[in-house]
């Protein structure tokens, strides 16, 4: 975006909240006034005022590789009226003076580095990670910073007007993501960098049960209980196995990628939904009671029902009691939305103030189109967000793995990470655990009604 007022470059283009200057290439962009005569005058200014050799991109014999541009040379892009200049500061200074008399040169700016808006960045250079996380994928901090700044800059350009908004990156961009070692969700939440394992922490997952024959969980401490009359804890659906995989799956499943968080936690499987995926409040409460009796620190509930005008008093009473007793209940915000045209309110029971409600993000850290929002003025807030689009995890045998989406998938991310925080802070109360999760979340610059305090982050 070029300023025609002659003021200093960048002054309007970047958020003042950011101290970091954008990366630049060392080259300079010169905007020239359009029109044959004006362009000719501009080119003349480049050579006479700044002593630059000029090449025309339209000339087939010229290489278009800007990286190869010789010093003291300008490549003229006639069609758009821009010259890319490889000049020394003195030459650039003389061009900038020309820009204050805009009969030919309108603006002079340092060429910025931009990054493709894909998560994770394609071809990111490899940086070694801590030995404790061996086997984890490698992503450079510089690349992440550049990605973030690139997006900020693009957004600022859009808000400044005059630039067409970028097409949103689609969920099918996932095909280009590097999930060979760990799922994108474990990368985005910094689980892959975390030294914590969930050891000593009991996580209860109240769902459709678990596939107790799954090879990735051999040797794990698993306690099961069915609250569904006539059905054993064995998962006849898949949903429960997938959620438990995310919350507590193995550090090095075979085959990779890693998809689970608290790989040394004790798993409490509470089957509260039957093999048709159906259940009721009574069985959920029984599961919560069981988890409390067994000293679980975290309960993960990837289930929800359309809410009433206010949250359930019964569930709020029980959840408040659970919190006071050291157990954090985490539930899915729900998937009834169809953004942007429709945002549904947070489901029961996640809409209870004492239950942590989780929204879903995609791999570009945008709110998933189906993710419910905190639109009700009386309770029903979204507290935090987790990876919830194209989430790879365990599935009942023989299928073994599946990739699905939902606030159901975001919820066990938060639950598993809660277990890591609980291990890292022995004796922490459930209330303080809640606060820690919310405060350490990564801000996304998105409305709190949609994502709470942001993307949940593991303690590293």
């Amino acid at each position: 975006m070029f300023s025609t007022s002659g003021r200093e470059p960048f002054s309007g283009a970047f958020s003042s909240r950011r101290d970091v200057r954008p990366e630049t290439t060392g080259r300079t962009l010169v905007l020239m006034r359009h029109g044959k005569d004006a362009m000719a005058a501009g080119v003349k200014a480049l050579s006479s005022a700044a002593g630059l050799s000029t090449l025309r991109a339209s000339d087939a014999s010229n290489s278009m590789k800007m990286a190869d541009l010789e010093p003291s040379t300008a490549m003229i892009l006639d069609e758009i009226g821009v010259a890319v200049v490889n000049g020394n500061p003195d030459q650039i200074g003389r061009l900038s003076i020309q820009a204050t008399r805009p009969d030919s040169i309108l603006a002079v700016e340092a060429e910025r580095v931009v990054y493709a808006a894909v998560w994770p960045p394609i071809g990111a250079a490899v940086m070694p990670v801590a030995p404790a996380a061996a086997g984890a994928p490698n992503v450079t901090r510089e690349y992440l910073r550049g990605y973030r700044d690139g997006l900020d800059h693009a957004a600022d350009l859009c808000f400044a007007g005059g630039v067409a908004p970028l097409e949103p990156v689609r969920a099918n961009e996932r095909a280009r993501m590097n999930e060979s070692a760990a799922t994108w969700g474990l990368q985005a939440t910094r689980v892959v960098e975390s030294i914590w394992t969930g050891s000593g922490v009991k996580i209860a997952v109240l769902d459709t049960g678990f596939d107790l024959t799954h090879p990735d969980f051999a040797g794990r401490a698993i306690v099961t209980q069915s609250f569904v009359s006539g059905e054993p804890p064995q998962d006849g659906v898949g949903h429960g196995t997938h959620c438990i995989g995310t919350a507590a799956g193995a550090r090095q499943p075979n085959p990779l990628p890693r998809y689970g968080i608290a790989y040394e936690s004790e798993i409490y499987v509470g089957k509260v939904l039957n093999n048709a995926g159906r259940g009721g409040d009574a069985d959920i409460l029984a599961g919560i009671d069981w988890a409390m009796r067994n000293g679980c620190r975290v309960v993960s509930m990837s289930l929800g029902a359309p809410p009433g005008p206010k949250p359930s008093t019964v569930f709020e009473n029980i959840a408040r009691r659970a919190l006071a007793g050291g157990m954090l209940i985490i539930a899915a915000a729900g998937n009834e939305s169809d953004r942007p045209s429709y945002v549904a309110p947070v489901d029961h029971p996640a809409n209870c103030p004492s239950i942590m409600a989780v929204a879903a993000l995609d791999a570009t850290l945008q709110v998933a189109f189906f993710s419910n929002g905190g639109i009700e003025p009386n309770g029903g807030q979204v507290n935090i967000a987790g990876p919830g689009v194209d989430v790879y995890s365990s599935w009942p045998m023989p299928k073994r793995y599946d990739t699905i989406s939902g606030t159901s998938m975001a919820t066990p991310h938060v639950a598993g990470i809660a277990a890591l925080h609980a291990q890292a802070n022995p004796g922490i109360s459930a209330v303080d655990l809640w606060t820690r999760l919310v405060k350490s979340a990564r801000p996304l610059g998105l409305p709190a009604a949609d994502v709470g305090s942001g993307l949940v982050q593991a303690p590293v």
Binding site: G277, D281, A282, L285, D289, M292, T313, N317
Partner: protein
Amino acid sequence: MLHMNLPERIPVVVSVDDAHLSKVDEVVARLRAAGMEVAQTLAHAGAVTGHVDSGRYDALKQVHGVSGVERERTFQLPPPDAKIQ
């Protein structure tokens, strides 16, 4: 023609207040006396589940030691092959 309005049997969940958390059995006895058919007593969470005839639903709320009475909600997951769950 005589129409019999059979009372609807409502599945309910009840929460016990903090003051009665250590005396849940007392509250359960009163709920039964008020017409509730008790299925589960969840003493740790302080909850009671079961059924009650629709005509006696409101009376449950008046039982001493009860902090909440609600009709049970049900949950239904999408099918296992759904993209969004």
